[in-house]
């Protein structure tokens, strides 16, 4: 029985894992001899990378790529909504605390 799997899924998994490992580098770039430092650049990058990963999971693993247009738009709108909520609350919170 032939089970030549769609290699695309493997590429997607490798890409998602690589993006996860990129956090290690981001983490080191923000630290100062083991002491964690606040960093807006790191925070924004981390949130954007996570959202790109979520969109890849939606489109590739959850097969939204081949779903009716409504589901494609709805999931994209959701990713945008999460982005606005996360980045918005971070920046609003920072403005309040200053």
């Amino acid at each position: 029985m032939s089970t030549a799997f769609n290699n695309r899924l493997l590429v997607v998994w490798a890409l998602l894992s690589a993006m996860t490992l990129a956090y290690l580098w981001l983490d080191h770039s923000a630290d100062d001899d083991g002491t964690l430092r606040p960093s807006t650049v790191v925070t924004v990058s981390v949130i954007v990378i996570a959202l790109v990963k979520v969109r890849i999971i939606f489109r590739e693993f959850m097969e939204v790529r081949h779903a009716p247009a409504l589901l494609c738009r709805l999931t994209d709108a959701w990713v945008m909504l999460i982005a606005v909520c996360l980045l918005g609350s971070y920046f609003i919170g920072q403005t309040i605390s200053n």
Binding site: S2, T3, W13, Y23, L36, H66, L81, G93
Partner: protein, 205 residues
Amino acid sequence: MTTPAGADAPPHDVEEVTKQAQVTRFMPGQPDMWAFVLFETLVITSYFVVYLLFRTQHHELYLQAQADLDLRVGIFNTIALLLSSWAVARCVQASRAGAYRSALTNAVLTIFFGFVFFVSKVLEWVREIRMGNGFTTNEFFQHYFFLTSIHCLHLLIGFVVMGVVVYQLWSPKRRSQELVETGATYWHTVDFLWVLIFALLYVVR
């Protein structure tokens, strides 16, 4: 694609059937599950908003507490869940092609990687509690324990869902492609919610 999988459907080349399925647009799994997924994502996102607003008010406290989390454990957890997501995506494609033995193997692999995540999570909780970081220790760990345990609850429900998928795939009489896709949609949700929780608890500065 929600065509009923016949009991005697001959196995096809998975790649070929996947390509055929991609020509016509189809709803992956039941629409009800998608409504649940989008609703659940909204609920968790509203909690993320609360977390980020509080975090920005006490930056130093959160950073100090966050230093007790091991990023490598978080990365290991994330890759284990991504492996399980990959396995369940393969399970969907195999089942669609009528390759049920392969679909079953991948469904079991999904549960296995989910279990690896679960054990690793429990060990991390034990480690944190031993270090003196409990639910009431500080604000950061309150959010940490709340978010990780809510996620873990979803994972435990995911084991039941995948158990149903395995049960249905087992007998030719019970096989339903729609059910496999619905189960997979739920499992992927557990995965992408963790991707967000991991980013916000372990790496955000």
